[in-house]
């Protein structure tokens, strides 16, 4: 309904509360909700993108994990305090991993009685080929599959091979991206044993 007031010079149309005006708060509320949802989604995407851009963990407390080896043994990183831990990510389909396999085993045989724990984490692999790989390179240190890629995600690995060295207090000392050697590992681990 319109109430019209007229005088000689101007005509003013004064409207009472129309249905459109009543709808305005609802429309505004709807837009506000839509914007909040959109901003939340953009925030989520931003966080995920940020996580992707982060490199592998290289310092601070080493992400804890529990690994069940191919032999059924369970290894928890948290229970290895007081020992230097070498965590190696590998896969049977990874050719550079084959370059370092012999050195890793040699390192293990040299340091296993000196307070060093070595763990092989088999990244997105098939068990048959993984076991064949371990047999081919006569690998004797504990190895197990990274079920659900949980460990590799925690360490934010970018590929294989990658090796992480953790000191006696559970802190990450360094990471080695790509194949490593016995000499490189020894040079890093030796000072940590003192």
């Amino acid at each position: 309904m319109n109430n019209e007031t007229m005088n000689n010079e101007t005509m003013v149309v004064v409207e009472s509360q129309t249905p459109i005006q009543n709808q305005k708060p609802k429309v505004l509320l709807g837009w506000a909700a839509a914007w909040i949802v959109l901003i939340a989604l953009l925030g989520l995407v931003a966080v995920k993108l940020y996580q992707v851009t982060l490199g592998p963990v290289s310092s601070g407390s080493a992400p804890d994990f529990t690994l069940t080896t191919f032999d059924g043994e369970t290894i928890a990183l948290g229970s290895q305090r007081g020992k230097v831990v070498v965590v190696n990510f590998w896969a049977s389909w990874c050719n550079p991993c084959k370059d370092e396999a012999a050195d890793l085993e040699a390192f293990w045989r040299q340091y296993k009685d000196r307070g060093v724990v070595m763990v092989g984490v088999d990244y997105v692999d098939t068990e048959t080929e993984a076991r064949a790989y371990l047999a081919q390179f006569d690998i004797t240190y504990p190895n197990g599959p990274d079920l659900g890629t949980r460990i590799s995600q925690a360490y934010r690995i970018k590929g294989v091979p990658e090796t992480y060295i953790i000191d006696k207090n559970g802190n990450l000392v360094t990471n080695i991206i790509g194949p490593t050697t016995l000499a490189d590992l020894a040079a890093i681990v030796e000072p940590l044993l003192k």
């Binding site: 010079e9 101007t10 005509m11 003013v12 149309v13 004064v14 409207e15 459109i20 839509a34 989604l41 989520l44 896969a91 049977s92 389909w93 997105v124 692999d125 098939t126 048959t128 080929e129 599959p145 079920l147 659900g148 890629t149 949980r150 995600q153």
Partner: protein
């Protein structure tokens, strides 16, 4: 009167037709028999593989992925099919081993639910916004204060008209 040679010809045609029918029936049933007796065919393996993505390649379905790793995973699918596993059991195994990212069709758990929910919601919001916009175009809302039909000229209008007249006069 039908001659003997015609009868013989009709008989041989009937025999050939019967043989063709028998061959067709045999071909229809041959394929499943091969699949059941021997190993799963590549098609059967790929039917499962195409529902999975290579865990180490970017956006590559497992059935067309050329890497050694993917060949190993297809071999695993074959092994599981031989062992009598169902498609769902194989997919569950892959999820357990390599995480949910291997699934071509994301599950409806956790944040993955957004993948299923957001597109239809976005579509509905878009449709509603478009409908609202079109409605506004057809029925523009009446202005609260209508301008007078003939408002008295203001000083600003006078100045503007004066300047306009001057400019036009210069250009004549």
């Amino acid at each position: 009167m039908i001659q003997k040679s015609e009868i013989r010809s009709q008989k041989s045609e009937a025999v050939i037709a019967a043989l063709l029918v028998a061959l067709a029936v045999a071909l229809v049933f041959a394929a499943p028999v091969f699949a059941q007796n021997g190993e799963p065919t590549d098609d059967e393996v790929n039917a499962v593989a195409k529902q999975l993505y290579c865990p180490v390649c970017e956006n590559t379905p497992l059935d067309v992925c050329p890497t050694q790793a993917c060949a190993q995973w297809r071999a695993t699918i074959k092994e599981k099919l031989i062992a009598g596993w169902s498609e769902q059991q194989i997919k569950d195994y892959f999820v357990q081993q390599y995480g949910e990212r291997v699934l071509a069709q994301p599950s409806t758990r956790g944040l993955n639910v957004l993948v299923w929910v957001l597109p239809p919601i976005g579509f509905l919001i878009g449709a509603a916004a478009l409908a609202y916009y079109l409605q506004q175009l057809r029925n523009p809302a009446p202005s609260v204060v209508a301008a007078p039909a003939s408002a008295p000229p203001t000083d600003d209008d006078d100045d503007y008209e004066k300047r306009l007249e001057e400019e036009l006069a210069k250009r004549r």
